[in-house]
């Protein structure tokens, strides 16, 4: 298997690499139940957590994952709007390099920013969301939740509801699940499900009718409706609720054991009804816990890895390391 040196997106990953990450997250799921949630595995390592875009849950999840592995974090927060993107990124990269972190987790408003950084730094880079491009750890934690709840990742009918056009969560999930044979239905107001999305992966279809999209669905992703977009004159909130909110009644159109996922933060009463969000088919809270497990597994494998030119251990420890 090709060893990972960064996690920039899901698109370039093989199914083998994805399955490996999910398998490696398993012990960390168990770990979240330990009374003592602190390892020393990455003691002395520093993870730079650079967020150029507002985020609470993803940032806390990465910071907690690093802390539970024993690593220190250095937080870098900047508002991309107040800086010229290209310039600020280069400057930041240089500043970061000078502080000698062992890895960097980056969220940026521009698609491709993590890749840009990865090309200029020797350390592992983890994409925590870049523009409308990808949010790979979200797709991985979603896949883990699907595998746990439904027994496997392969061959599900997947429906994604909402603003697909602007969603990196949707893109990463489309890439990941289609690698495992999913049939994907994208559904939302016409302006949010443009034709180009069908080219992302095989077996992707679009519809603007929620009822049609939900029929026979095994997994339903509800995307957050970004309130800054809902104020666009083309679409009023009431209209969205009426046409696209996932209600208990609509959920009955899907398979009886369909799993409902939401990347958060959820706006109850807008894109999802509370009865669904808190219902037995919701996997929302598992997603949060699984996010920690996936991020711990990634940091463990990416950051803990010795540099290629590191001195080899003086002695072979075949017995000791068995």
């Amino acid at each position: 298997m090709q060893h990972l040196s960064h996690l920039l997106g899901v698109e370039s990953l093989t199914t083998e690499q994805i399955s490996f990450i999910l398998d490696q997250a398993k012990p960390f799921q168990e770990f979240q139940r330990y009374p003592l949630k602190k390892l020393a595995t990455l003691r002395g390592k520093t993870v730079a957590v650079a967020f150029f875009e507002a985020s609470t849950r993803t940032r806390i999840s990465f910071t907690t994952a690093a802390a539970r592995l024993g690593a220190d974090t250095m937080a870098l927060q900047a508002e991309s709007s107040s800086l010229k993107k290209g310039e600020s990124l280069i400057d930041t990269v240089r500043t970061l390099e000078a502080m000698r972190p062992d890895g960097i987790v980056i969220r940026h408003g521009s698609s491709g920013a993590p890749e840009f950084v990865a090309k200029r730094l020797e350390i592992p880079v983890v994409n925590a969301g870049d523009g409308a491009h990808e949010h790979p750890t979200q797709a991985l934690l979603d896949a883990l939740t699907i595998r746990d709840r439904k027994g496997r990742i392969e061959d599900w009918n997947v429906t994604i509801l909402g603003d697909i056009l602007h969603s990196r969560v949707a893109r990463s999930n489309i890439h990941l699940l289609s690698k495992f044979g999913a049939k994907i239905t994208l559904c939302g107001p016409a302006m949010w499900v443009p034709r180009e999305l069908e080219d992302l992966a095989p077996n992707v279809r679009r519809t603007t009718r929620t009822e049609e999209a939900l029929e026979g669905a095994d997994v339903i992703f509800v995307l957050r409706v970004q309130t800054e977009r809902i104020h666009e004159p083309e679409l009023a909130a009431e209209e969205y609720i009426l046409g696209y909110q996932l209600t208990a009644k609509r959920l009955r159109l899907a398979r009886p054991d369909a799993l409902v996922l939401h990347p958060g933060p959820m706006i109850r009463g807008l894109e999802i009804d509370s009865a669904v969000a808190d219902g037995p088919q919701s996997g929302v809270l598992e997603q949060v816990t699984n996010g920690l497990a996936v991020r711990m597994a990634l940091l463990y494998h990416l950051i803990g890895r010795a540099p290629v030119d590191a001195p080899h251990p003086a002695k072979d420890r075949s017995n000791a390391s068995d």
């Binding site: 390892l39 590191a310 017995n319």
Partner: protein, 182 residues
């Protein structure tokens, strides 16, 4: 570098007899195995612990639970080995608090694996007592770690490797001493 087999340390029969003896010793020194639990260290410690638990159960009728410990997250050599070892996970589904634990491994060498195992165990709770059982003690300790129950003590040189081969993991049953020659 070639690896050559120097001699056989234990045959299949000897492994079986040694495990029987160790099971007896563990029961004797554990006031009838009450409150006792065995913890196998991945990989071969798990196979050995499994066999010991079966022997102890048939000898004492005591229900001795068994857990599996993966020490990968607790190693102290992460920055000196190439890729990270894959995780297989710890599976201990009983509380370790106040338990009388016997940690089982195949070979005791530098003691670093056991140091890591102790860290892992204490993350799970506070056992009443922790003892160590190994099939082979080959010396060359780098830490103050000793085993309470030892199958066989063997003099080795640093370049030699003790290979414990078990039916379940290796498809054969014997312990051999191998050496690396340039």
């Amino acid at each position: 570098m070639r690896v050559v087999e120097k001699r056989q340390l234990l045959s299949a029969e000897e492994i079986g007899r040694t495990l029987q003896r160790l099971a007896h010793e563990i029961i004797e020194e554990s006031s009838g195995a009450k409150n006792l639990a065995l913890i196998g260290i991945r990989r071969r410690g798990v196979t050995l612990a499994d066999r010991l638990v079966k022997a102890i159960r048939s000898l004492s009728k005591a229900d001795v639970p068994m857990g599996i410990l993966d020490i990968a997250l607790y190693r102290d050599d992460l920055s000196t080995i190439g890729a990270q070892p894959s995780l297989q996970g710890t599976e201990i589904d009983f509380p370790v608090d106040d338990r009388d634990l016997v940690v089982v491994d195949d070979v005791l060498y530098t003691g670093r694996t056991i140091r890591a195992a102790m860290n892992g165990l204490f993350d799970l709770g506070r056992p009443r007592r922790v003892r160590l059982c190994v099939l082979i003690d080959r010396g060359h300790r780098e830490l103050p770690v000793e085993a309470t129950f030892v199958g066989r003590t063997v003099q080795t040189s640093d370049s030699e490797i003790v290979e414990v081969r078990l039916q379940e993991t290796d498809g054969e049953e014997r312990v051999v001493l191998v050496d690396r020659v340039p």
